[in-house]
Symmetry: C2
Subunit: 410 residues, 2 copies
């Protein structure tokens, strides 16, 4: 592959949802998302793909193989973004798939297996809270009751079902979008790393060995909202001091338990929240991830123990609720070996690593042999207008993806 | 004093600003405040007081002594409340003064010294941010520039000067409200404790020895807002973990430095504030008080040292800004002895204590001999609809106040 149209396409797609700060707000099923989807569908058709929209509004483009009954090789990712997100997250995976198809089409290469490029709908789950929606529906892992789906609306009161319909989906028949895993030989996703590991090691390609999924909790600590001046230190029941102990304990426990684990408090709210009132209630979010489920469970148990102890010592009440839980997955060892081999033959330095972020590949990996290729995020920045991946790294990623596909569709 | 009208008056005044939760929202200069002021002015006149409104809209009721040139004994507090505050804070001090006047008037008792009851305007500083406004103007401690005062408005855009005028003040001539401290023999304020000390000790009367004033800071800690999944623990620059260390250090430093000191973080905000993003910025408020200014300064120095160290270790940037600073004051030892003596003679158990909250008495104490009487707050609750002080404690407080006044006006 000597020429690349992906940079031109990236620019074109990213007109949809461009923000004044140079970022992208292309929420799932929005006008911006619709524009980007239309652009991608046109490209698919331009390079001879057969395009269909499934019931979940996933876009499935098929570059037919010579033996149509063989299971397909699938490249997939998403076009939707977080609010004020970046130009690479998701869209790069879709367009790199199209770059591979264009290369095959223009060189009249056709394997025995078909090659599909899929745009999964609503990966981010920001506008409607069903993260990994399209891939989960396709793999039969979406289990929300119809009553809930039917009434689900965004902040403006626009219904999810209405938006899915407008994109050509059939929300009342989501189950029909489910595919038999045997129809899929392999799933591949190229994605930006969204972290600092590749940058830190100075390599262009990360071969994902496993995806470290989060378990999330909300912790509410309840003490007594007393006067900041009139309440001696020894008579206080300050939940924010308790929260501080618990947050530092989380950091310590995570580091002690597993080198691949991470733990984050991203949200904290205090009530009443006045400079001269001791907090009465503090609410914290916890996001804990590891590729090693046993270690992740151990971290949660140790954290709960600390919460109990801190609340006892400080005379606080607490409520600790799990709000989200996906199990981590290991990716297919044969796919990992294949991508590793491709990198070696192409003399592109690569490292094996885990993904700390969730991806559609995480859903797919539970059902079909899945491989994932990471390219570096400069300064580790993602979900941010400053998200950036160098063109030379993107080119290497697309070439590794293309060579991997060539071996799989044969 | 065998009969009390104060409970009836409390009920009547607290019709003004009553909230559905049973609390009081009587913001300074509001319609509710106006109603309460009118009620109090009527009472003052009913018991033979000469009433005037000064330039700062303070209400000054005078029960004349037999030697009008002698300096007056002054009882003062406030009628304004915080939003959704309680039924006792401030108003109890005003009405207890009136109860004393009523007792004198109905028994035809008149001292050589005049007795004044003052309603200070805008003590809370919630609607317009000039806490202790009326007393500060009266004592010449209010130094805001006219340009600022002139333009000061509340959230609805209503100007402070307009409101002061409506209440009979002259905002453009505030300086005329300043009084010569030599006109005041003594200042007395009865107030609810707003803390847990009297309840904890099981006594009805606190004799305030000093008022512990706050110094306040805003600390902004800046790290890197990275992906909660994709950023290994060792590559993080998490300002919330830094904040946790600093908050616990504050607690430790305050306890180690002074038994009378208190330190509070009442506000904390993280940005971007998403469950799956490591905080990039954390903003904290600090409120640090002590009756001992040297100890308070020591606490601030030690806190700053910890902030520097934590930020160095965790590779964070910070900005630490002082936003408020009043010096603590000790109350007049002769006044303390006098109140103590009254309590002993009346066989009412009392303890000497410090006030952690600021009061108009704090302003007065820098200029005139000042005494302050605390009555218990049940469960230490204040600035809250649940604020409650038992009638029997109020009666004891009013009696101690009355006896103290009798000795001072002689």
């Amino acid at each position: 592959m000597n020429d690349f149209l992906i940079f031109h396409w990236l620019k074109e797609v990213n007109h949809w949802g461009k923000t004044p700060e140079g970022g992208i707000s292309r929420l799932a099923f929005s006008q911006e998302d619709k524009g980007a989807r239309k652009y991608v569908i046109d490209l698919m058709e331009e390079y001879g793909m057969e395009v269909r929209i499934d019931e979940a509004a996933n876009i499935i483009g098929k570059y037919a193989g010579t033996e149509p009954d063989l299971p397909a090789v699938v490249i997939g990712s998403h076009l939707d973004s977080v609010p004020s997100g970046g130009k690479y997250d998701g869209v790069l995976g879709v367009l790199s798939g199209l770059e591979v198809v264009r290369h095959l089409a223009q060189n009249n290469i056709r394997g025995r297996h078909s090659l599909e490029v899929i745009v999964f709908s609503n990966e981010e789950g920001c506008r409607y809270p069903y993260t990994l929606f399209g891939s989960s529906v396709m793999m039969g892992d979406f289990h929300k009751p119809w009553e809930e789906i039917k009434n689900m609306q965004d902040e403006q009161g626009i219904k999810l079902v209405q938006e899915i319909k407008e994109l050509g989906g059939k929300p009342e028949k989501l189950f029909l979008a489910r595919r038999n895993p045997e129809q899929i030989k392999a799933f591949l996703e190229l994605h930006i790393e969204q972290g600092l590991v590749l940058e830190d090691k100075g390599v262009s390609i990360g071969i994902v060995e496993g995806i470290s999924a989060p378990i999330r909790f909300v912790l509410k600590l309840m003490g007594s909202a007393d006067h900041a001046g009139a309440t001696p230190m020894v008579l206080r029941r300050d939940p924010l001091m308790g929260a501080s102990e618990i947050m530092l304990a989380l950091e310590r426990i995570v580091k002690e338990t597993s080198v691949t684990a991470v733990g984050t408090v991203g949200q904290i709210n205090v009530s009443p929240g006045a400079v001269n009132i001791i907090p009465g209630t503090v609410t914290l979010s916890f996001d804990i991830r590891d590729i090693d489920l046993a270690a992740r469970n151990q971290i949660v148990r140790n954290l709960e123990k600390v919460i109990r102890e801190v609340c006892q010592t400080r005379d606080l009440k607490y409520d600790f609720q799990e709000i989200f839980n996906i199990s981590p997955v290991m990716l297919d060892t044969q796919m990992i070996s294949l991508i590793e081999q491709v990198c070696q033959e192409m003399e592109i330095p690569a490292i094996k690593m885990i993904s700390g972020a969730a991806h559609d590949a995480m859903v797919m990996a539970n059902h079909v042999p899945t491989g994932m290729i990471f390219v570096p995020s400069v300064a580790g920045i993602s979900h941010n207008p400053s998200e950036y991946t160098r063109n030379e790294d993107i080119m290497k990623g697309v070439e590794v993806l293309g060579q991997t596909v060539l071996r799989l569709i044969k």
